[in-house]
């Protein structure tokens, strides 16, 4: 799991083409039958991987040349569907330290932030160029730079977008949020006191 201040990630890249990659595919529900997150990395994209293998094809996450990749390039609406945090957990435990996509589902992006996994969006044309470079050469490194809001790979450089609040949280280490929330104990109590439904209307 990442250390506190996260402002740039670099590493080899794995490319997942296709939009609307939902969290049931990222981590099927049968792997949520657990009381810890341990071992999820073994089951990331499990059904998609098996389906391709059965056809004699290979899922990018099964490509030996992509083992150890730290940056994931993906399509639009990545992580849609269920709110299962198991999805970003499985990806992070597999080794992904940053995701670059055309767009993200909101709950997924928030869950990823909570575990220090940055999600940045790039324009579709830029994504196509980045994917093309990364697909062509598994040894290329990708760089996700939160400080300058850029993604680079194999000579392609693209502007990257992330909600300001997420960028600040990651770069200042505030993404590990519970302690900060607990500091406002008095303010929480004042809020509780002014809610009509907690105080007999």
């Amino acid at each position: 799991m990442p250390s506190s201040h996260i402002d740039h990630i670099h590493g080899r890249v794995v490319v997942l083409r296709g939009d609307d990659m939902d969290t049931d595919r990222i981590i099927p529900a049968r792997f949520l039958r657990a009381v810890t997150f341990a071992g999820l990395e073994a089951h990331v994209f499990e059904d998609d991987r098996r389906a391709l293998a059965a056809r004699g094809e290979r899922h990018p996450f099964d490509d030996p040349a992509r083992r150890g990749a730290r940056v994931l390039f993906a399509g639009a609406n990545f992580g849609c569907g269920s709110s299962r945090e198991h999805a970003p957990q499985a990806l992070a435990r597999w080794g992904i330290a940053a995701i670059v996509a055309a767009s993200f589902a909101e709950i997924f992006q928030g869950n990823a932030l909570m575990i220090g996994l940055p999600c940045v969006s790039v324009a579709p044309a830029d994504l196509a160029r980045l994917m093309s470079r990364a697909d062509a050469d598994a040894s290329l490194e990708g760089l996700v730079d939160l400080a300058t809001s850029r993604v680079a790979c194999g000579g392609v450089v693209a502007a990257a977008e992330m909600p300001d609040a997420a960028r600040v949280a990651l770069t200042t280490g505030a993404w590990d949020s519970t302690g900060a929330l607990l500091e406002a104990s008095d303010a929480i109590a004042r809020t509780t006191a002014r809610l009509p439904y907690l105080n007999g209307f």
């Binding site: 296709g18 939009d19 609307d20 939902d22 049931d24 595919r25 099927p28 529900a29 049968r30 949520l32 039958r33 657990a34 009381v35 810890t36 059904d47 998609d48 098996r50 389906a51 639009a76 609406n77 849609c80 569907g81 269920s82 709110s83 299962r84 945090e85 198991h86 767009s103 993200f104 589902a105 909101e106 709950i107 928030g110 869950n111 909570m114 909600p163 300001d164 609040a165 600040v168 949280a169 200042t172 505030a174 949020s177 519970t178 900060a180 929330l181 607990l182 406002a184 303010a187 929480i188 004042r190 809020t191 509780t192 002014r194 809610l195 009509p196 439904y197 907690l198 007999g200 209307f201």
Partner: protein, 475 residues
């Protein structure tokens, strides 16, 4: 200043602005279940943090519950582990757990409203994306992940950014045989599965105003399938009538008459929580209810749907050609084919979308006097013990059993197949649930067609997808 319900409830619950610009938002009601809580409680234990507001935290067992009655320990060892873990966590922290012994167990988004826990003007969080369901009461209700569950347990707050608000005005009358499920599928089909990202959906207009609470819940439930984390309906007399006398509603006390004055005080505040007439919206969309037909999803996301009398798209003519092609191939359908007449193997009536008494009543009306087709295995999973009991009082369980349905105990069941209820192989399931993603119902190659309870009931009898508008029923 005119404000939407979203702004009013958000402002009321905003504890402070966080250094990164997000809001620290108080959670008025925290609902908990066994899948997304164990790691959150463990994180609390490791840091020595107590649960801040156990009185505002309510739990149940739903996702892994066997839907056949069996004594403890469950034969499913992991289900037993997850159940005992939640039971222990609730006991240690003084959290009310609605287990089977309580008589109030069920799918978390069914029991919250039933018990009167879900109320207008609240913020409501739960580690499940269909928490949007509770927005039907005029609450800001949203799904959260396990780390956020940890934050809410520890602080009764979490860090969030506000959403924009899209007003979806629905006018006109839903035709006979057309239901709330069809309406929300039509909305998602039109706005897309990520059209709502960054938005809360406010459902308004005369059609919505005439809907029951169950119907409003069906609509708000599937907001997340359209990308909208929250969906809500402004509270009104229908809302108040539903809540009056429920166990945790204002003015209710066990065994006593309702304190009418206390309930009326609540209603006055609830009325004020509704969006102001001149409130500004970030976007507005109009939907004509009269034009909506019974809908059926044919693909691998909830936006890939057609009217039952319509034909599947052709990739060449579709904006998302690649997605359509992939979906057609996985589902084994041909471009341009009709959806009516598609044979089904399994019929599932259940889930937080459509397993309330009114759903079962409507399905029973279709089923009465008929038999499930020989090729079909059909099951009804009531949304809660209370739904099952109410259905039994009306004799609905007998109607389903006589027709050849399996009548089960409450739980999430085959919506996501975390228990023993699942598709096998390439089975096609007509389902009242909310997601048709690849592998969703427990078989990697299984296929899900989403539709209304009446449509599932008709398909179970016919053995294939049929247009329920033409179904002969006694009034």
């Amino acid at each position: 200043m005119s404000r939407t319900l979203f702004e009013k409830v958000w402002d009321l619950h905003a504890v402070r602005r966080l250094p990164n610009g997000q809001t620290q938002l108080y959670v008025g009601l925290h609902l908990v279940h066994e899948v997304t809580s164990p790691q959150a409680f463990e994180a609390l234990h490791q840091r020595g943090w107590p649960v801040r507001a156990p009185g505002r935290t309510f739990a149940t067992l739903d996702h892994i519950m066997p839907t056949r009655l069996e004594p403890r320990p469950f034969g499913d060892a992991m289900a037993e582990t997850m159940a005992t873990t939640l039971e222990r966590n609730c006991r240690e922290h003084g959290i009310t757990l609605f287990d089977r012994a309580s008589g109030a167990q069920g799918i978390v988004h069914v029991i919250g409203p039933e018990l009167g826990l879900t109320q207008p003007g609240m913020t409501i969080a739960c580690g499940d994306s269909h928490t949007s369901t509770h927005g039907a009461f005029g609450a800001l209700a949203f799904g959260i992940g396990t780390s956020q569950v940890r934050d809410v347990l520890a602080s009764q707050t979490l860090a969030m950014s506000p959403l924009k608000v899209r007003r979806i005005e629905v006018t006109g009358t839903l035709a006979r045989g057309v239901y709330a499920k069809d309406l929300i599928l039509a909305v998602i089909g039109r706005l897309g599965v990520h059209g709502g990202v960054g938005y809360a959906y406010e459902y308004a207009g005369d059609t919505i105003a005439r809907l029951s609470m169950d119907e409003r819940m069906t609509i708000c439930n599937m907001s997340i399938e359209g990308g909208a984390r929250m969906g809500y309906v402004n509270p009104d007399a229908t809302t108040f009538d539903y809540l009056r006398g429920r166990r945790f509603a204002p003015g209710s006390a066990p065994g006593d008459a309702i304190d009418a004055a206390a309930f009326e005080r609540a209603c006055r505040w609830w009325r004020d929580v509704a969006s102001d007439p001149e409130a500004p919206y970030d976007d507005e969309v109009r939907i004509a209810a009269d034009a909506i037909a019974p809908m059926v999803t044919w693909g691998i996301n909830p936006g890939q749907s057609v009217a039952v009398d319509d034909r599947l798209p052709r990739p060449a003519a579709a904006p998302d050609a690649g997605g359509v092609a992939e979906a057609l191939e996985f589902m084994g359908f041909d471009a341009g084919q009709a959806i009516a007449g598609t044979p089904i193997d399994v019929a599932f009536i259940g889930s937080c979308t459509n397993a309330r008494v009114s759903d079962l009543r409507e399905a029973a009306r279709i089923v009465a006097g008929h038999r499930v087709a020989g090729r079909v295995r059909a099951l009804v999973v009531p949304g809660s013990q209370a739904v099952a009991a109410a259905a039994a009082r009306e004799g609905l369980d007998d109607v389903f059993r006589t027709a050849g349905f399996d009548w089960r105990e409450a739980g999430c069941s085959m919506c996501l197949a975390m228990n023993q209820d699942r598709l096998e192989g390439r089975e096609v399931c007509a389902s009242t649930s909310n997601r048709n993603f690849k592998g969703r119902q427990g078989s990697p190659t299984g296929r899900t067609l989403l539709m209304s309870p009446a449509m599932v009931a008709a398909a179970a009898i016919a053995g294939e997808i049929v247009d329920v508008r033409t179904w002969p029923t006694t009034p």
